[in-house]
Amino acid sequence: MLTREQWTEKFVEVIAHASSQLPPDVLEALKRGRDAEEPGSLAAKALDSILTNVEMAKGNWQPICQDTGTPLVWIHHPVGMSTRMLTAAFEEAVRQATAKQLLRPNAVDTLTDKNTGHGQGPGIPTVHCEEWDSPDAEVRVILKGGGCENCGAQYSLPNAKLKADRNLDGVRRCILDAIAQAQGKGCAPGIIGACFGGDRGSGFVESKRQLLRRLDDHNPVPELDTMERDVLDQGNQLGIGPMGFGGKTTVLGVKVGNLARLPASYFVSVSYMCWANRRAGARITPKGEVQWLN
């Protein structure tokens, strides 16, 4: 069993990975996007810059983007482990990673408007713990920047303006609208995490959890798998392009989950993640051996 200090050390490692090493599936999607754009176009140049940046960050273990965002973490832990200890260890990891410049001091006290200086404050980071049967723990981190977080949207169906009823077609309409509203502002090409159902809070949490998925995976629910493909294709037809410069690459992936809802409510919650989809995962054995997950 690891001590709290040892957990902190492991978490700092995972944060360092997330901040500087872009996952391979995202890199592949960016390259495919660059190859699809007109050579010499603004879109192609923007993607070239992005690809160079990804390589530089990787080689130097430096932050991919200076906005290292809100650290979000999902921890699966063995039976009986203290979630209070894990949460405290992760918060400490954020402070240490900030001191090491792996993260930017990114937490502002909302009453005094002063930066806390160490990257942590109430609600930052957000830690989700869930018990499971394995003796190992699994840690999955996302660093979600402010520019893209500001592009998130929530819809309450039916929505007359979008002709969106309370069904899968209605969900599709909302997600496409969210992509169009975001334009390039969330540092397109983006990745969409969406959830239909739930309440206003749980829907957004689930939409973010969808961002943990690899871009090249398949949704196990056939209807949702089809929707993900359709929205990806139609989102790219909008022509917004990288940074909103115009072009074919507007979204790199669309991931949709669902939760139960109240009879009275039907929410569609959409989270926009920038191209800098900083996602890292590790499986950690009771002895502290780390296996990296993509």
């Binding site: 603004l42 140049k45 923007a46 810059s49 992005i50 160079t52 940046n53 530089m56 960050a57 130097n60 430096q62 932050p63 991919i64 983007c65 200076q66 906005d67 410049q101 930017r104 001091p105 930066n115 920047g145 402010g146 520019g147 500001n150 979008l162 002709k163 309409r173 496409l176 609208d177 169009a180 334009q183 390039g184 502002k185 540092c187 139609q234 037809q237 909008l238 022509g239 917004i240 392009g241 990288p242 940074m243 909103g244 410069f245 115009g246 920038c274 191209w275 800098a276």
Partner: protein, 195 residues
């Protein structure tokens, strides 16, 4: 690829068009939310010479302070410019700025300001903090560091071949407005909303 040396005069800026890809070299000043409030509330004569005929960069950098006291930028990509929309045109007019570097574009008030005063909006690629930090060769001076903190302070920097795209020019053209218009028309078509 065209080169632009800063500071520069109005005639040079008026020649630039939406879609031009530029490499900037010379002196630039950084500033975001706190800086814009501060610049607007009084005439800040100590920084005015650094703004005149130069450009302001919307960025909240990660900065390293070295043992001998000098600073370098570790990561420095653009931040969302839209937040400065209420102030930008006035800051441009008041201090004689020739442009703004940021991301996401700005609105009609700024576009009108660019036309009136002879300035441009230069879009850097969002998230490319490492590429852009490498083009920042020197930190020359800093204002309001204690008051605003590292990301919000006004840093006077020297850049070399700093890559940007003109997305709003001084003739009333905005790539953002164009893309928004065409993408929203496409959305309406995809959703069958066109009447």
């Amino acid at each position: 690829m065209a080169k632009l040396t800063l500071p520069c005069d109005e005639a040079t800026i008026r020649k630039l068009k939406v879609g031009d890809f530029l490499e900037l070299s010379g002196r630039v000043i950084t500033g975001r939310d706190s800086a814009h409030h501060w610049l607007i509330h009084d005439f800040r004569k100590e920084v005015a010479p650094f703004l005149k005929d130069s450009v302001i960069y919307h960025v909240g950098p990660v900065v390293k302070k070295h043992e001998d006291g000098h600073y370098t930028f570790v990561a420095a990509g653009p931040t969302t410019s839209a937040r400065e929309e209420p102030y930008q045109a006035d800051v441009i007019g008041k201090y004689g700025l020739r442009g703004v570097i940021g991301k996401g574009g700005m609105g009609t008030k700024t576009l009108e300001g660019l036309e009136k005063y002879g300035a441009v909006y230069l879009h850097a690629v969002g998230g490319t903090a490492q590429v852009l930090a490498e083009a920042i060769k020197e930190v020359q001076q800093v204002f309001q560091l204690a008051e605003f903190g590292v990301p919000e302070a006004l840093w006077v920097i020297r850049v070399e071949n700093f890559p940007v795209v003109v997305t709003m020019d001084s003739h009333g053209n905005s790539l953002h407005a164009e893309v928004e218009k065409s993408s929203k028309a496409k959305l309406e078509q995809l959703l069958g909303l066109t009447s």
